[in-house]
Amino acid sequence: MTKVIRTENLTKVYNHTVVPVHALGGVDLEVEKGEFTAIIGPSGSGKTTLLNMIGGLDHPTSGRVFVGDTEMTALKESKLIDFRLRNIGFVFQSYNLIPVLTAKENISFIMLLQKRSKEEMEARAIQLLQEVGLTDKADVRPQKLSGGQQQRVAVARALASRPQFVLADEPTANLDTQSAFNLLDIMQKLNEEEHITLLFSTHDQRVIDRARRVIKLVDGKIASDERR
């Protein structure tokens, strides 16, 4: 199996001059292609921090992050943005979408930044809308979509760039049970059918049950890591 993500002794200390907060205390983690992994743990255990490091949104205090063969932690800021654009899909808890763009335009947006051809953008956006079951909402702006629909557009947007993996920080936190299951179904389907590597954090037991691998963080360290 190919490794998509590898972290080496990752640590993160916030506020190291005032009152240091040790958010991550040496995380070694490997994620293989096609894995469907949940990161769980109590509030403040470092889930978001870990995802931010892996996503290249923040710099670790020490340790390294590899994505494929690239040492992401060694990239300069400008290179890093471009690297994220080409390799990582993001789904956040909220505020995922550009309010002034329609669902379809939001999905195309990443491909636009990647300078894909018009035809490819169009075809992929339509395909993804179909996969997340929102073909009829293609021309609707986010504020007219429900929370669950917005998150599905966000998942589609994250996949549009054909990333190496998708990171999702509590993607279901703001959703009701039905919408949460719906989103999970889609994520699971994409994982199984398109072998998308998915790494997400959650508090939600309903979500945890669906994951194929569950990593538990406690106080910024991996307390358990089980595949099932």
Binding site: L57, D82, R84, L85, L112, L113
Partner: protein, 407 residues
């Protein structure tokens, strides 16, 4: 790129009320600035045309010494031949040859220093339409002896009217003082009241007879068909008559052309001040916008929108906002100028006689030059650039991880 243009344009309309307020500010500011500029430009153009067509003409020829000494003896040699040469030039519309003397005028009431200008009635009519300035009496029409046309201001001071008698005193060709009695034939009034008080018009032949020695001519004023040919005509004449002083209106009256240049700069400065004030409003609006969108900007950078594009997006949004307002302002301002240009704007209520005292007409036809609009567009562009740089840098400062985390 295309997508960023789209987002920026739609972002302008996200907070409609806020955008409309700043947009109206830009539009109204420019409307005022443009109309004021139109009025002022119209005044200057009018002043310029009056100065040239009714007063200075396009060019004048003198004996070089006449300019400094103002004495009749410094006359143009072989003036008649020169006048006929000029009259046959295709570029020349009309020529007026004048005999001039500085002297004194005396009536029963007062005495005043004056410039006595001897003109040929027909030539002067063709060159400065002087006959139209005559408000009372006649313009050298009857054949009576020694008629003189006096400016209104002077006539009022001297309490004279057509039919009154005046005594003029001036040096002749030898420098001997000549006294002669003239009969007031008419009263004239130009837009330049100060000059009206100084200048007396008599028949050239009368003055020439009094100063003696042939038919001296001190000044030849030339009106061309088209000002475009001015430098060509001057060059030719200078070549042909190197011993004469041949000057364009700009050399005779530099203030006339300076006035145009200076006016152009003044209006731009006014527009710049208006735009600068607007820039602060725009800056404020854009800063609010950027702060409000902290999370969204963080998300955009997280998913891979690079700094160049974020910067461009904020810049474009500001530019769209500014230009939408500017276009409305230009349409309003340009429209107002266009509408008022038909009948002119009567400023006599505002300026009163002050305007005419300085050689302006009270009814101003507003006008604008294409170059003004070009400068305006460049300035508006600079304004939106100025107003957007700081907010755009603020937008770049967002750290995606923190922007997203905030709840």
């Amino acid at each position: 790129m295309n997508g960023i243009v789209k987002i920026s344009w739609r972002n302008v309309w996200r907070n409609k009320r806020r955008s409309l307020v700043i947009l109206m500010a830009v539009a109204l500011g420019l409307w005022g600035g443009i109309f004021a500029t139109g009025l002022a430009t119209g005044m200057v153009t009018q002043r310029f045309r009056i100065a040239i067509e009714r007063q200075i003409s396009h060019m004048q020829i003198h004996h070089p010494k006449f300019i400094d000494y103002d004495e009749v003896k410094y006359h143009i040699p072989e003036a008649a031949e020169l006048v006929s040469h000029l009259s046959s030039d295709d570029f020349v519309m009309s020529v007026s040859a004048r005999t001039m003397a500085s002297g004194m005028v005396a009536s029963s009431a007062i005495t005043a220093g004056v410039q006595i200008i001897g003109v040929d009635a027909e030539q002067e009519r063709a060159t400065t339409r002087f006959d139209e300035f005559v408000v009372d009496g006649d313009y050298f029409t009857d054949a009576g002896r020694n008629p003189v046309i006096v400016g209104k201001r002077l006539a009022d001071k001297m309490k004279i009217e057509p039919g009154s008698r005046l005594v003029l005193t001036f040096p002749d060709m030898q420098g001997e003082i000549v006294r002669a009695s003239f009969r007031v034939a008419g009263i004239y009034q130009t837009t330049h009241t100060q000059l009206d008080e100084l200048r007396l018009y008599v028949r050239r032949s009368d003055l020439q007879a009094l100063v003696g020695e042939g038919e001296p001519v001190n000044e030849i004023a030339i009106l061309l068909n088209d000002v475009e040919h001015l430098s060509d005509v001057i060059a030719q004449l200078k070549n042909r008559y190197p011993e004469l002083s041949i000057r364009s209106y700009a050399e005779i009256s530099p203030e006339v052309s300076y006035m145009q240049e200076m006016a152009g700069i003044t209006y731009l400065v006014i527009i710049i001040i208006i735009l600068l004030a607007l820039a602060f409003g725009l800056l404020n609006t854009m800063l609010m916008t950027v702060y409000e969108r902290t999370r969204e900007l963080g998300m955009l950078m997280a998913v891979g929108m690079n700094k160049k594009r974020v910067f461009l997006m904020v810049m474009l949004e500001t530019t769209f906002l500014t230009f939408t307002g500017a276009i409305v302002g230009i349409l309003l301002g340009g429209g107002t100028v266009w509408l008022t240009a038909r009948n002119g704007v009567d400023l006599s209520g505002v300026g009163g006689d002050t305007l005419t005292d300085f050689g302006y007409d009270a009814v101003v036809i507003p006008e604008l030059h294409t170059s003004f609009f070009l400068n305006l567009v460049i300035l508006v562009l600079c304004t939106s650039f100025l107003a957007s740089v700081y907010p755009a840098f603020k937008a770049l400062k967002m750290r995606p991880a923190e922007a997203i985390r905030k709840d």
